[in-house]
Amino acid sequence: MPDPETDVASVAPPPKFEPDERWVPADERWFGLDRRTVRPTLAVFALAFVMSVVLPVVDATVPYHDIVKAGDVLELEGDVTFVPEAGWGITSGLRAGQAPLSGEYPATATVEDGAMKLTVRTGQFHGDANRLLDQIETTSEALNHGRGVHVTGTPTTIVTDQGKQGARVRVTGPHTAGIIAAFVFGGRGVEAVATGPSDAGAEPAATVMRMIRSISQTGEGKQ
């Protein structure tokens, strides 16, 4: 059994002097900075600049053209579809029959025409269309904190071409007006948010309503 008291631990050399962690050798100083830290830092800055500035700027300068042709149908998660207006641009979402390899369509699709914009979103929901509209209002108010668009007026009924009854309500914001419509197909809720300039004429509004009324669920349609 070794005895720690034996032998001489003091034989070990005394600790060598090491300069303070913040000390910089005189020949490595550059405008008060440690010059050895400049190159790696600039490399990281360059990477951050490319990621946070260059790539977003390049993206913003590249135009996107995916124009709706007559007969196009957009499909969302849960077999929900709607017919976008020919000539509008698809900024997100997939055409029916062009599913990704995973087989799952995204939950959101957006089409735009100038300042007019329609976003359709689906998700699980248990309740009727009025409850879904209430839920959408509650969540939107909580997210917007009183800014952006807000609900004005009372909910009214909207019926799709498929005969599905939903609820809708008008929304207004600074220089913006629109509607939010809600439908529930079985356990699947669908939210459609259309916004545009408050002085947009009757024709764009009719176009938006036509697209909202085209919302359907494949399963329901077959029933």
Partner: protein, 394 residues
């Protein structure tokens, strides 16, 4: 053992302590270090972006955010414990690991990778179409944006702590902490997104699945990728205690990028078959963990050598036995064999305590740069006390 041999051993200890940086203090506040300001700026931007998102969405998704933050805080604590558990050797200062964690959590995510990911995915959609972007966009973007955003943090950490970050294993451990920070913040963001998938209703139900899935899959995700990547980065750059090995460095950088790309493309590779997806998921996790273990064994060897060099004079001076030195500088199997060599349960327990006290002595020796301080003498006396079975008076 001759005096000359002891001198040689002491000299070897000095060299090991100097080369490894073991026991050196880390000071974060370094106003003359350019990396310090870059770190503050990028972590600050990321922190503000994350907190403003959290504040903006809290009123709507408070329940899910609360659940996610608590769940992932516990998850992070467990990972932290595990990472400490596997690092028996020349340990890095805890403060440095916190700095690494914060880089991964705030700078690498919100200040860097998130912006790049959005832009690249959008460009993919514009160039190749939305379907292609959904199939292959994430798998081709994230390995470059996220791995390099996380890995670049190690460059700053080396500039901030050149005396401490000395080996590929240091890169491995710091990379794991960078990855942990990234993983936790990303998981909280995913939980927030999932809370809105049912229009803000049933938030807990909507997000719990994502939280559990992220926890399970997280074992073989960012922590693992960054640990391997950062070990590779150290090999690529070379450090005072780790000779440059460009080939190995590039390989270890490429492997996690490939794993990450595969992971993000599993949905597209598997197709609509859920069974195939689960099979591929498990296979990817198994392969990733096997590679991680291999890289751990590869990098830890040098750290074990440092422990041997630092404690060899203690063995020569009979503070510890040859078997204890072998166990200390060995792997888990060696430590287990050392304990099992004792016949009774009480002896095995004592052997474990002796080993822990010997590791504490190694830490004190490192902090004293091999000197004979009061702390070192006390740590030596603790090894002797536990070996003799004398109760502690403290």
């Amino acid at each position: 053992m001759t005096t000359a041999t002891l001198s040689e051993l002491d000299h070897a200890r000095d060299v090991a302590l100097d080369r490894s940086g073991w026991g050196r203090r880390f000071v974060f506040y370094q106003p003359r270090n350019f990396a310090f300001w870059a770190y503050l700026l990028l972590v600050g931007i990321g922190f503000l972006a994350f907190i403003s998102t959290l504040a903006r969405e809290y009123d709507a998704y408070g329940e899910a955010i609360g659940l996610a933050v608590w769940s992932f805080a516990i998850y992070a604590a467990l990972f932290w414990w595990f990472t400490q558990h596997i690092d028996h050797y020349a340990k890095l200062p805890a403060k440095l690991m916190v700095v690494a964690f914060l880089w991964g959590g705030f700078a690498a995510t919100a200040a860097m990778a998130a912006n790049a990911n959005d832009a690249i995915l959008s460009l993919d959609g514009k160039t190749f179409g939305q379907v292609w972007a959904l199939n292959w966009g994430p798998g081709l973007a994230a390995p470059f944006t996220e791995e390099w955003a996380k890995g670049s943090g190690l460059l700053l950490l080396i500039a901030l702590a050149p005396r401490q970050v000395r080996t590929a294993f240091d890169g491995f451990i710091l990379g794991a902490f960078i990855g942990l920070g990234f993983q936790i913040v990303e998981d909280i963001s995913y939980a927030m997104t999932s809370a809105g998938t049912q229009f803000g209703a049933n938030q807990v139900g909507a997000s719990i699945g994502v939280i559990v899935l992220r926890m399970v899959s997280g074992v073989a995700a960012h922590v693992l990728y960054s640990a391997i990547f950062c070990a590779g980065l150290v090999y690529l750059l070379g450090r005072p205690a780790e000779p440059r090995n460009v080939g190995r460095g590039l390989l270890l950088i490429a492997i996690p990028m490939l794993l990450h790309g595969t992971w993000d493309s599993l949905g597209a590779i598997a197709g609509p078959s859920a069974l195939k997806l689960i099979g591929l998921l498990i296979a990817t996790i198994v392969v990733a963990i096997a590679i991680l273990v291999r890289v751990y064994k590869l990098t830890v060897k040098r750290e074990q050598d440092f422990v041997r060099d630092v404690m060899a004079p203690e063995e020569a001076r009979n503070v510890i036995t040859a078997a204890e030195l072998y166990a200390m500088a060995g792997n888990r199997k060696a430590r287990k064999a050392y304990r099992k060599a004792n016949r009774t349960r009480r002896e095995r327990k004592r052997a474990r305590y002796v080993l822990n006290a010997a590791y504490a002595l190694a830490e004190e020796l490192a902090a004293a740069r091999g000197g004979d301080t009061d702390q070192v003498r006390f740590a030596r006396s603790e090894v002797a006390r536990i070996r003799a079975g004398v109760p502690s008076q403290w």
